[in-house]
Amino acid sequence: MGVRVAEEWLHSCSGCEIAILNIGEPLVELLGQIDFVHIPVLMDHKYYGQMGEGEELEIPEADVGIVSGGVANEEHLEVLEAMRKQCKILIALGTCATHGGLPALINSWGMEEGIKNSYATPTTDKCQVPTDVVPKPLDRVYAVDEKVKVDLILPGCPPNPQLIAEVVTALIEGRDPVIPGKSVCDTCPTRREGKGDVSKVRRFVQNADYDPEKPIDEMRCLLEQGFMCMGPVTAAGCARRGAPSCISARVPCRGCFGPVRRDGNQMLDMMNALASNGIDFKSVVDRRSLLRFSGAHGLLRPINKKSGK
């Protein structure tokens, strides 16, 4: 029998699950070595028994548990706790699970405010926010490790399929996985000329300056071109085919792999990076957006509440 794997998605978009499928052909091989015991996107195992008769939420025992998405309501929390209980090793997959990810932007207002707003749009009939049967929201979006102990994190939005395969293979082989520990810039081939003459960052309303017929390593660094690029403060991992994903499309990085150090603060780190390059950080419109992918762990909070949690 192979390694037993359980997978769950919480406050997620299913992109992490698609990233698992994007392992591609090697996945077919991996499937020979692992047994999925629970994975709602692919498999019909139910929480309350296959006949829907059970009283308590049940997830089968597994050697490895993979969880994508942050924690934003009571059902997420219940599922996460069951996963932790039943899985020997728990992996937080994707930046939502590791740092809150994009949905944690709501932490600037709180879950309740976000939900209320959705039911008050101009096309919605006058109504109350649904509360029957549906799970109650938590106050904000949490990263998985704020709620349970996590053994391994693999960020990325989505995470890199090759790294997912590496982690799973390493676990099957009983060794430590090899995961990059550097920044996006360290994996970026663009040409850097040292400090430029940029004093303000520009918004990305026009394309970067480059010759599309020439390879990426002949394009000048986007930050040096005056665009905000979060490569310096973002964990490496997205690079495939020789360049970070966005840079290969000639578009600046927005930090979707989360901070370089697990507990880093992308907003503070980026302001420092700009300052040390002589760029006025006040030229950044919407600075809180620098926490676009890592607003859990209390980093993004309601604007009008200064103190407290």
């Binding site: 978009c13 994007n22 949905p103 049967v133 549906v134 918004r203």
Partner: protein
Amino acid sequence: MGNVINIQPVTRIEGHARIAIHLDDDGNVSDAFLHIMSLRGFEKFIEGRPAEEVPRIVNRICGICPWMHHLASNKAVDGCFGVTPTPTGHKLRELCQIMAHINDKILHFFFLAAPDFVLGPDSDYSVRNVVGIVKEAPELATQVVKMRQLGQMMLERFAGKAIHPIAGVVGGFAKPMTEEERQGLLEDTRTLLDFALFAMDFAKNSVFPKYEDVIASLGTITTGFLGTVDDSGALRLYDGHLRLMKADGTITDFPVDQYDQYLAEHVESWTYGKMPYAKCWDEGFSMDLAAPKGVYRANTLARINVAERLSTPRAQEELEEFREKFGRPAQGTLLYHWARLIELVYACERTIELLEQDDITDKNVRAKAEPKAGRGVGAVEAPRGTLIHDYTTDEDGCIVKANMIVGTTHNIAPMNMSVKEAATSLIRGGVYDEGLLNKVEMAVRAYDP
């Protein structure tokens, strides 16, 4: 006291849902619900963001169809900033959108839905999945995995990211296509078209005939339909105007930016999913199975129902065959799968058409944009239905207000009705088994929510 059968979670779909079937004392179905269990509140948290950033924020609404949100959002931002993409920028966006449709349909049909058909609705849950198909039909499975991967990698090679894309930008596209890229994409799409034609034949010969009764009846309801067409009434996925069709075939056409005068959203206390309905029919909203009001469906079956024709030859042949068999509008819920494969053929043919246009490699891919105050409505046909983003910006070009109607939501009321229809006709006198409960789920899976 009655009893509730709790199918939780609904599996092999995208997202979090639960089916609750309520039985009366005699074990007959008294009511049934599809509860949508999760909500994220994207409208709120794009407030205050620079609008040009939003297309790479809202793509995270859905990891299966991120291109759809990315591009509908780009169109809305174009509207806010009052900019028209260059012709090639426009084409590159459509190209990526159509390519994303190809993958999505392969994923849905073969990975999510096919286990019910290839292994059978009554097979054990532990094998009734894609892993089961790998064991049961390894050649088919390998081919399917390869083809989906090919489609994903085409997008990734050309546009940097396939999931949560970044290459669509206000005013057009972030990079032009080189001749070499074009040739590579053409070759790969021809392979995909062959596969699409194979999939169509495979389904028509080896899958659908085995399930004729199920296809005719399971979860079948009578509703209207919504889709996008061009001025000649041909199906469009990237742009065009919206078309509502009543169950009797009557048609209402309207421009995308007037969506709020034709559609409204109903809310029930027991589900986070809003239920859009046709406000313009002036009959209100009701999910009564015998006499629904305002309810229409979106997604594959809806699109091929509202369209007069498909603009590519092989897909048009398939549409004609389909219409001859099932009429127009066709109402069978499981026909969504059939329609999905017809659209797969269309998407491959349309991709080739776009790649063969001379100016697809033109270097002028982005028009100059300036942040400013305005309003923009952007819509595309997402795999799961018409997707609408509506933004208003302030003078700094930051979002002050947003409204979105996401593809899946159009089908929330119909899915509830199909679940109720399926449960009521399948469960009598308290007798049911796992296979039967799975059939109720199949009525949801057809919609690919």
